[in-house]
């Protein structure tokens, strides 16, 4: 996978994870173009599109678009499943996740993503294992929260 973007129906970017090194300007440009292209698609259209010699797989969950850019030889359907798996993970962790959860706890969302995908490939596909690892990491974080009194929703 080359990169993964999450954005809302209005085109606001919620999460972005890049697995290829690119300059900031490039990233912004790509994001803008891709967001426009995906938002322009009608609901019944196919989930895959070709864009700039990359394949883009996207799926819409409620008000969020999950968008992944994969290389030519990667399997598109399995990428759809990766997206779904990630959503399931988020759901399990946050309990019935909605966009607000991701907005306010975006660092957790990134942690979960990192446990799941590494360097653009799926690292661990078992839900239990990933969630266990996150829990362990959370335990390490607890004392810090008490110190700094950051509210956790």
């Amino acid at each position: 996978m080359q990169f993964m973007l999450l954005f809302s129906r209005q085109g606001k970017l919620r999460l972005q994870k890049w697995y290829v090194p690119l300059a900031d300007k490039e990233k912004k440009k790509i994001t803008r173009e891709l967001v426009q292209t995906v938002l322009a698609r009608k609901p019944k259209m196919c989930s895959f599109l070709e864009w700039r010699d990359l394949k883009v797989v996207y799926k819409r969950y409620a008000s969020l678009y999950f968008c992944c850019a994969i290389e030519d030889q990667d399997n598109e359907l399995i990428t759809l499943e990766i997206i779904h798996r990630y959503v399931e993970l988020l759901d399990k962790y946050f309990g019935s996740v909605c966009e607000l959860d991701i907005i306010f706890n975006f660092e957790k969302a990134y942690f979960i993503l990192d446990e799941f995908l590494l360097g653009g490939e799926a690292q661990e596909t078992s839900k239990k294992t990933v969630l266990k690892a996150i829990e362990q990491a959370d335990l390490l974080q607890e004392p810090r929260h008490e110190y700094f009194n950051v509210p956790v929703y």
């Binding site: 697995y19 090194p21 009608k42 019944k44 259209m45 196919c46 989930s47 895959f48 599109l49 070709e50 010699d53 030519d72 030889q73 399997n75 598109e76 359907l77 399995i78 759809l80 499943e81 990766i82 779904h84 798996r85 990192d114 590494l118 360097g119 653009g120 490939e121 799926a122 690292q123 661990e124 596909t125 078992s126 839900k127 239990k128 294992t129 690892a133």
Partner: protein, 815 residues
């Protein structure tokens, strides 16, 4: 630890790689690292490898890494596989052992019950990601040779295909997505192997079912997979059966990307039987197509029309239609090509002129049409001038009416057309001269137009009709070149254009077949149209064949990469003796002595014409040769087996992994004993390599088989009864004495095998005539095998003693 690895992976810069490249493999394979750490380490290593492959040396860790495939923990396996896949694609040989491991893992997963894998079962599909990755890994390798492994793999694939037919276990879309993901991956593996016809057909049928599925995603993927399937020979027929569905999809799909895929598939599955239908469909689609894809479609239609045009008037029609429908997107190459074709083919010129004339009469005429029209009428307007509706003046007025609407280059072309008119139709001279003389031409602000107007005006007024006729003579046929349209399409599609690439090889063969004039009479057009690129020995792209014949008088050493570049040279093969004529390039170094294997290689080629001549670590040389009477043509394919390019003292270079072709024309002047030497010099990685081989041209190549009755044979046999005309050899059989094999060899020699001539049915009798420029030598042959003693007696009689001796020697080696 994990976080650290994450950090390294995400940054993945070169410095990080330098620092950690040694550490990480150790962490990966050590027994005591936690599983989660192992996972992270594997992917981290992958990232570093992708960033800087030279720094991550896998030498000692290779076998351990492969063994990770057998790990208990699925997560580790998942991560490790990504690593192994990447490494395998770069060094397939080192990681060969992983194939059997992968197959066994895959079969275990595929056949496992749903309770086995617990947490890794995703909506009733066991470990989908792992399965997909395993299948992807297997695609890096050719099909396994080991019978057991191969059997298990085929079983796996069949199970996967079977599962697709079963009713789904769950209504959820995730279940079907996961199941289908594995299915598609399996299908790409089957396509990649391309060796099991029944699997291919099943895959094709499965895809056919998907073509009409409710879900758009599946339709899209099915169309895409079919594209690759269409190029495999086994399944091409099966793919064609779905043409109706695809055409329907093209017309009715609402999603533009699916329509595009359908168009691609039509392009891939096009062949002679359905060409007209497909081109018609594509043209109608073009009228409503998205603007972004029009240019590509135009190129494709042009290529298809040209390739499968049985009747060239259809081709002209199609192209003119193309211009009419999508004129803006018709690039230069397309109409250059149509003009080339029209000029090269006499029969279609009149038709083209008429059609173009009618097309120009339409009120809204695209500029490209005017260009094509102007050119064709200028060249061939005389063919339709007889008809009063298209008399010269009418033609001129028609063209001139469009004049003001056109851009500068078109106007320039029209001015040229006008001067051609003056030549063809003297009665229009006055009118045209008026036009040329008018201020808007000779004082035109554009320099090109002004120049043309002035020059043409002067030319028409001063030159006599003869001079004019010579200057404006009809355009000679174009030499065949690589189709620039293809080059343009490839550039547009980029490296991912699988279907176009494969067509490419066949395409060039076809193009060369079409209308090559001026070729040597002896080497008939049929020889030229042999699609030599399709005999791609290394399965790589071949450069356009460079043919020409610059005879270099009597030099036995054919200096291949000499100063003149890879131009073909015709080696005149002379009778014994390395003539001391000056070698073509003075700057070349001394050729190396012929390699010891060359004698053996030469023997290999006595009875056959095609094969691999020479192979070493760096280079593979294959040949294909054809002979006709006393002339021969040999195609040499030089394949670069390394990933580094070869350079020579002068250009061109052979890119890593690429193949270059060279054509050599051979003429036999008189009989000869020694074979010509081929000396190859090139630079690989800074070192100069020097290889000398004998070109497998032996006297028997110029055999012309002659059928004759028994009586004739014996008569001639008696005529050649002088001792020096006969050569006889008794020798032990080195190969088996199988009848069919012997017959094949004798036929491969070039002689005609005569039946029922020899009273002993075990014996073989052959006759042929050796064609040389100086003379023709009749040759009769008798081979008597003795099965009990495993020996042969070979008798040869011909009118020239050296010939008898030589052929006898050559043949003795073969048996």
């Amino acid at each position: 630890m994990c976080l650290a690895l994450h950090c390294i992976a995400n940054v993945g810069s070169r410095e990080m790689a330098e620092a950690f490249a040694g550490e990480i493999p150790r962490i990966l394979v050590a027994g005591d690292t936690m599983d989660s750490v192992k996972q992270s380490a594997a992917l981290c290593l992958l990232r570093l490898y992708k960033a800087s492959p030279d720094l991550v040396l896998m030498g000692e860790w290779t076998s351990r890494v492969v063994h990770l495939l057998n790990d208990q923990h699925m997560g580790v396996v998942t991560a490790a596989i990504s690593l192994i896949t990447c490494l395998s694609s770069k060094n397939p040989d080192e990681f060969k052992t992983c194939v059997s491991l992968a197959v066994s893992r895959l079969s275990r997963i595929v056949s496992s019950a749903s309770t086995d894998l617990q947490d890794y079962t995703y909506y009733f599909v066991p470990a989908p990601w792992l399965s997909c990755k395993l299948l992807r890994l297997l695609q890096c390798y050719p099909p396994p040779e080991d019978g057991a492994v191969k059997g298990r793999l085929v079983e796996c694939l069949e199970t996967i295909l079977n599962k697709a037919q079963e009713p789904p276990k769950s209504k959820k879309v995730q279940h079907s997505n996961a199941k289908n993901a594995i299915l598609f991956e399996a299908i790409s593996l089957i396509i990649h192997y391309d060796s099991e016809p029944n699997l291919l057909v099943r895959a094709c049928n499965q895809l056919g079912q998907f073509l009409q599925h409710r879900e758009t995603n599946l339709r899209y993927l099915a169309l895409e997979s079919m594209c690759t399937l269409a190029s495999s020979e086994f399944s091409h027929e099966a793919v064609k059966t779905h043409i109706e569905t695809v055409i329907n999809a093209l017309k009715t799909e609402r999603d533009v990307s699916v329509r595009q895929r359908a168009a691609d598939l039509l392009y891939a599955m096009c062949d002679r039987s359905n060409a007209k239908q497909i081109v018609a469909e594509m043209l109608s689609y073009l009228e409503t197509a998205d603007y972004s894809i029009r240019e590509e479609m135009v190129l494709k239609v042009a290529i298809l029309a040209e390739k499968y045009a049985v009747d060239y008037s259809w081709y002209v029609d199609t192209i003119l239609n193309l211009i009419r429908i999508a004129g803006d997107y018709v690039s230069e190459e397309v109409w250059y090509r149509v003009i080339q074709i029209v000029i090269n083919r006499d029969d279609v010129q009149g038709y083209a002129a008429k059609t173009v004339f009618e097309a120009l009469q339409a009120p809204a005429c695209h500029e490209n049409m005017v260009k094509v029209g102007g050119y064709i009428l200028g060249e061939f307007g005389n063919l339709i001038a007889g008809d009063p509706r298209s008399s010269p003046l009418v033609q001129f007025n028609l063209l001139h009416s469009k004049f003001h609407l056109c851009s500068v280059p078109t106007r320039a072309l029209l001015l040229s057309a006008y001067i051609k008119f003056i030549n063809l139709f003297p009665e229009t001279k006055a009118t045209i001269q008026e036009v040329l003389r008018s201020d808007s031409q000779i004082r035109n602000s554009d320099v090109e137009l002004q120049q043309r107007a002035v020059e043409y005006l002067k030319l028409s007024s001063i030159a006599s009709t003869d001079v004019l006729a010579t200057v404006l003579e009809e355009m000679p046929p174009f030499p065949e070149r690589e189709s620039s349209i293809l080059a343009k399409l490839k550039k547009k599609k980029g490296p991912g254009a699988v279907s176009v690439e494969l067509e490419d090889g066949k395409e060039r063969g076809e193009l060369n077949g079409a209308g090559e004039r001026g070729a040597d009479a002896a080497i008939a057009a049929s020889n030229v149209s042999t699609p030599s690129p399709s005999a791609d020995l290394l399965g790589l792209r071949s450069a356009a064949p460079i043919s020409g014949s610059t005879p270099s008088a009597g030099s036995l050493l054919v200096d291949v990469f000499s100063e003149a570049g890879p131009t073909a040279s015709s080696a005149s093969v002379n009778d014994d003796g390395f003539l001391s004529s000056a070698p073509p390039s003075a700057a070349s170094e001394d050729p190396a002595p012929p390699l010891p294997e060359s004698e053996e290689l030469l023997n290999k080629f006595v009875c056959k014409n095609n094969g691999v001549l020479f192979e070493n670590q760096l280079l593979q040389i294959g040949i294909k040769s054809e002979y006709r009477q006393n002339l021969g043509r040999m195609y040499l394919f030089y394949g670069n087996k390394t990933s580094v390019q070869f350079t020579k003292p002068v250009e061109p270079l052979v890119e890593g992994g690429a193949q270059v072709q060279q054509v050599i024309n051979i003429e036999c002047l008189t009989d000869f004993v020694d074979a010509p030497l081929l000396n190859i010099k090139f630079r690989y990685g800074g070192a100069l390599q020097n290889i000398s081989l004998k070109l497998p041209v032996t006297i028997n190549k110029f055999f012309q088989p002659t059928e004759m009755a028994a009586a004739d044979f014996f008569q001639r046999w008696k005529q050649l009864s002088q001792p020096q005309q006969e050569a006889q050899k008794i020798f032990k059989a080195t190969h088996g004495m199988d009848t069919e094999v012997l017959k094949a060899k004798l036929l491969g020699l070039g002689t005609a095998l005569l039946e029922n001539v020899d009273p002993n049915p075990e014996n073989y009798v052959c006759a042929g005539v050796i064609q040389t420029k100086a003379q023709q030598v009749g040759c009769l042959l008798r081979l008597e095998p003795n099965a009990q003693a495993q020996m042969y007696r070979l008798t040869l009689r011909s009118s020239k003693d050296t010939v008898s001796q030589r052929v006898c020697d050559l043949l003795a080696e073969q048996f």
